[in-house]
């Protein structure tokens, strides 16, 4: 840790937008030279440096970026159409044409794993975007308005948290029927409570901090305070929680699809692929069929957790995030 933590919360000195800030920035620069302190880095630069020094996080980010690229360009990466049945070649072992063999409908396992990344990553991102929006609306309202509104919203959050979320998700998926949109929405609708609590807590802490009170005393409007002081400091913990949330959503989708309630055939989802390969005859008859999507899930989730850990270091976040 660097010894410069007390100055964490200052705005970046060289503000690229707004010429009015130049005067104060210059004065601050002089003060820095006068006191012989190391040159002040913007919080973002410091965060980036700390992230880059976290080896596992950089590794995770590299893996994740590769997966994102693979899922975007799946049509070019996959050697075959993931839904095409090669009927002369059912349940084939891995060979030079089908690198991971074929499933019982003669579909190329490698191509399906490649396309499966598209399902997993998009479910993760969309589901978490949905619950980030809900969490932000509820958490920020509770934290900023306070009083009775806060009380009601937080009791409601407690209530949703009381339900075993996977059971709730599974039942809703059963009622609404399997489809990728339903999976995204259902995971999104029930995932927000931890994040809402986190956002509210952060806002409550920020409200009491000296520089916010100072800004208020100087006549800063609520809008100004939120944009200039509160939001930048909430970004750290929220980004950590969101990252872990994406991993959680990917695991939830995999579990849901494994139970046959998530993404249905013939679309390729890692959970569905494992589910199809289940049954004791398949377990050792064609291990590549379920080991490859399974290891893909592990790799994706692990990479995301590493990135989350790096962000936690980068933004100096304590505690365990959303608790999900």
């Amino acid at each position: 840790m660097s010894p410069e933590t007390p100055r964490n919360n200052r705005p970046p000195p060289a503000d690229p937008e707004g010429g009015a800030a130049v005067g104060t920035a210059q004065r601050r620069l002089e003060a820095v030279e006068l006191l012989d302190l190391p040159p002040e880095l913007s919080p973002w630069t410091r965060a980036r440096r700390r992230f880059m020094s976290h080896k596992l996080a950089v590794l995770g980010l590299a893996i994740l970026l590769n997966m994102v690229l693979i899922s975007i360009f799946a049509d070019f990466v996959a050697p075959y159409d993931p839904t095409r049945n090669h009927l002369h070649k059912l349940l084939a072992p891995p060979d030079s044409l089908n690198w991971l063999g074929t499933d019982r409908s003669g579909r190329d396992t490698f191509s399906r794993v490649v396309f499966g990344s598209r399902v997993s990553l998009s479910v993760g991102v969309v589901a978490v975007s949905i619950y980030l929006a809900i969490a932000f609306a509820i958490g920020a309202t509770a934290g900023l308005v306070g009083g009775r509104v806060d009380n009601v919203l937080m009791r409601f959050t407690d209530l949703v948290m009381t339900f075993p979320s996977f059971i709730l998700i599974v039942i809703m998926a059963g009622i609404l029927g399997p489809s990728i949109i339903n999976v995204m929405v259902i995971i999104g609708i029930f995932g927000w409570p931890g994040l809402a609590r986190l956002i509210r807590g952060q806002i409550l802490v920020q409200r009491e901090l000296d520089y916010v009170i100072a800004s208020q005393a100087l006549g800063g409007s609520l809008r100004h305070i939120i944009r200039r002081h509160v939001l930048p400091n909430v970004v750290g913990p929220v980004s950590v929680a969101v990252t872990l949330g994406v991993a959680g959503a990917i695991l939830a989708e995999a579990g849901l699809s494994f139970l046959g309630l998530g993404i249905s055939e013939p679309a390729a989802s890692w959970g569905t692929m494992i589910s199809n390969a289940r049954g004791i005859a398949f377990i050792d008859a064609a291990p590549a069929l379920w080991l490859s999507p399974g290891l893909s899930i592990v790799l994706a989730v692990l990479a995301i957790y590493f990135v989350g850990d790096g962000l936690r270091d980068a933004f100096d976040v304590r505690g365990s995030g959303s608790g999900n």
């Binding site: 407690d158 009381t162 075993p164 996977f166 599974v170 039942i171 494994f258 399974g294 592990v298």
Partner: protein
């Protein structure tokens, strides 16, 4: 203390109502007639359409949602959560039948996971930044990244199919006298899969809590006055670091219940999880609702219990 418990219970009552309201809303989203779910199927056969219409009016099923909720709640309080579409038995009875089997599985998993997790968390914190600490943290990342069902299938492949050391699924070997050893052999794989994530969670919380306590000033004081390191750890660090972990009990229960659904299904372990999975496949909504309602109530109760236990050990909590 009594005052604290009373206050905590009073806070839980509105939550209990909330649980029932949400469950009721979900029941009503499910396709199907609530009347057929509520009536004993024996009676249904002998009733004419007109009788059923009359009964619908009498029960208030033609009335608006909130009124129906009150009627449903009255039945629920007396223990009638409806009848299974499939077996035609009262769903409460079906769940209670399977409960001991699930509780034993989950209880052992939770007990093992918390002791293993706390142990490694303590080691990790005492050896902070060492190779052991670093390896344990990487291992814990793997533990939370492996889907339980994938871990279960891999365990099955290695230990049951390839090595043949453990049975593939079920709770007992068919045709043999039930023996404890037989049960334990069947339980090893499901319990391992079930506790995987919890070990990591307990480990991380323990490590953080230990590090917090180790840097506390009273620990410095204890060392300064010349206490042996063992005494400092036992009397000052462990007590203060490990007590807050009680609260994770309530927090880890929802994931454990969700995990039981998948694990019991994979290993054909005849508990509530497997019952819920069958109900999902057969669209047996009354059973699903009973599981949801009872699961949420269990989490609420566990949170209450954990809070009370915490307050009992730590007086600062109950006077806050």
């Amino acid at each position: 203390m009594t005052q604290y418990i009373t206050r905590r219970i009073l806070i839980s009552i509105p939550l209990l109502f909330g649980i029932s309201i949400i469950t009721f809303i979900i029941i009503n989203m499910a396709p199907g007639d609530p009347l057929t779910a509520l009536l004993d199927p024996e009676d249904q056969i002998s009733l004419s359409v007109r009788d059923i219409e009359a009964m619908r009016r009498e029960l208030g099923l033609d009335r608006p949602g909130p009124v129906r909720y009150v009627i449903w709640l009255k039945e629920a309080v007396t223990g009638n959560l409806g009848f299974s579409y499939q077996t035609k038995r009262p769903v409460v009875e079906m769940v209670l039948d399977k409960l001991p089997v699930s509780l034993s599985l989950m209880g052992v998993a939770l007990a093992l996971a918390s002791s293993i997790g706390v142990m490694f968390g303590v080691i990790s914190a005492l050896k902070q930044y060492s190779v052991i600490d670093y390896s344990l943290s990487v291992i814990s990342f793997f533990m939370i990244s492996i889907p339980q069902f994938f871990f279960a299938l891999s365990g099955m492949l290695i230990f049951a199919v390839w090595l043949g050391w453990l049975p593939v699924f079920g709770m007992w070997t068919a045709g043999e006298d039930p023996e404890l050893w037989d049960l334990a052999r069947h339980a090893i794989l499901p319990i391992s899969a079930l506790m995987l994530q919890d070990i990591a969670v307990y480990m991380r919380y323990t490590r953080a809590s230990m590090l917090d306590t180790l840097s506390a000033e009273y620990v410095l004081t204890a060392r300064a006055k010349g206490l042996s390191e063992a005494l400092v750890l036992w009397k000052h660090v462990f007590r203060n670091a490990l007590v807050p972990l009680v609260t994770i009990l309530g927090l880890s229960l929802p994931a454990l219940i969700g995990g039981a659904l998948i694990i019991e299904t994979i290993f054909s372990w005849p508990g509530v999880g497997a019952l819920a999975y069958d109900a999902l496949r057969q669209r047996d909504y009354p059973v699903q609702m009973a599981v949801l309602l009872m699961g949420a109530t269990a989490v609420l109760a566990a949170n209450l219990l954990a809070d009370v236990a915490y307050a009992w050990v730590d007086p600062r909590v109950r006077h806050a």
